[in-house]
């Protein structure tokens, strides 16, 4: 275990009383997510790999039970946990968040405008990136040029579902995109509706972590699309994901009264 790992373990187990710790570690040259309890040695801890631990956590939840989990959280992970807690998927009280401030390079790669966690334990807070250059460029294009750009991008899609599987806020057990009505079994690329449906489902919960873009094997600028839709949500409803106080506008009436369902379904 390296110094960083020891420091993480000390914060998680000794200072904040967690039972298990979820983090990224390098073992025999491979970096992957690991879960350890006190005293275990997972190999060298790594924080430079921008992996969405929240997506792992939601898969592990049925096996964790009542244990108190410490999780290494960037600002986007933190927002994802808030979104999941709002929908009753995770219990916020049983989480110990270890705040991780992203490096400058990482912020540039994500074009991140909200990058400092509420409590910084590891790393140093850096300046946020003002805006997504591609989104601005697309905004200034004519509608035909924009269509041409996105159709060229979406044509590359090979329906790997990487964007869905690695998404920290995709929590449905039965994903609507896996229904044959929307995504037929045969044929790539999937029709345009695939990306549009995904955009809609993430409209009120995307935390702009950029995992969809990173996991995309054909480099579709999905994060830019997410940012564009999030900006629309901000303009229309003054709503941003990751706000614990505000309920999603899609789950309230026009007078901001909650609708009947609990928002558990997508």
């Amino acid at each position: 275990m390296n110094d960083l790992g020891r420091r993480l373990a000390r914060i998680a187990f000794d200072e904040r009383g967690a039972d298990i710790l979820l983090m990224m570690a390098e073992n025999q040259g491979n970096v992957g997510p690991v879960i350890i309890s006190k005293g275990q040695d997972p190999g060298d801890a790594r924080i430079d790999v921008p992996y969405q631990l929240v997506a792992i956590l939601t898969n592990l939840l049925p096996f964790i039970g009542k244990a108190k989990v410490a999780i290494l959280c960037r600002r986007c992970d933190e927002k994802a946990l808030i979104e999941l807690a709002k929908r009753g998927i995770v219990d916020d009280a049983s989480m110990v968040r270890i705040g991780l401030a992203c490096s400058k390079e990482q912020i540039q790669a994500c074009r991140c405008s909200d990058c400092v966690p509420s409590k910084v334990d590891i790393g140093e807070a850096a300046e946020p990136c003002p805006e997504d250059a591609l989104a601005i460029e697309l905004g200034s294009m004519t509608i035909e040029q924009r269509a041409a750009f996105w159709m060229r991008q979406f044509r590359k899609c090979n329906k790997c579902f990487g964007c869905t599987l690695n998404c920290p806020v995709c929590f449905c057990d039965d994903c609507v995109l896996e229904e044959r009505t929307y995504t037929p079994k045969e044929g790539i690329p999937p029709e345009l509706a695939f990306h549009l449906i995904r955009s809609f489902h993430l409209a009120d919960k995307c935390v702009e972590c950029g995992e969809c873009e990173r996991s995309c094997p054909v480099d579709i600028p999905l994060l830019t699309l997410r940012k564009m839709v999030n900006r629309d949500m901000k303009n229309m409803f003054d709503y941003g994901s990751g706000d614990a106080e505000k309920k999603s506008p899609l789950l309230t009436t026009l007078d901001d009264q909650p609708l009947e369902d609990d928002g558990h379904a997508c």
Binding site: E191, A193, A203, Q257
Partner: protein, 139 residues
């Protein structure tokens, strides 16, 4: 070149707009024949998925018609629609599809004439927009 005849889907809610369409028919109000009416129980059962699927398969325009706000048979069904459809339109706009191809309107059971008006206006608008570019993609 033949004249462009748009294909339009109209999702009509069972309690208001479908009855409004019925009234328009009974009153023999003339309207363009391009519209395929799909009867749904509530405008809130029109998932954005349906709209996206229709547009990406080359349908030229999608109309979503429901009860006026406050008149919903299920009390708050159309509130949900009123929030969803604008988001749907924004997403279409973001990927470069003209959002005038989707229209949300309220037609009550007594408004046969409004139904006629909405259909005439929408068909005329879609005619000026031209065929859905997605249609060629799917051919």
């Amino acid at each position: 070149m033949t004249e462009f005849k748009p294909t339009i889907l109209a999702f009509c809610c069972n309690w208001c707009s479908y009855a409004g369409a019925d009234l328009a028919g009974v009153n023999r109000l003339q309207m363009p024949p391009n519209v395929h009416v799909i009867r749904v129980m509530c405008s809130a059962s029109v998932k954005p998925e349906y709209v996206f699927k229709a547009i990406s398969q080359g349908v030229d325009g999608v109309l979503v018609l429901g009860c006026h706000i406050g008149d919903c048979h299920y009390l708050t069904g159309n509130h949900r629609t009123a929030k969803r459809i604008p988001v749907t339109k924004k997403i279409l706009h973001d990927v470069g599809i003209d959002d005038r191809r989707v229209r949300l309107d309220w037609v009550s059971a007594a408004e046969g004439e409004k139904f006629q008006q909405v259909i005439i206006e929408f068909v005329a608008e879609i005619k000026t927009l031209g065929p859905n570019p997605q249609r060629e993609v799917n051919m």
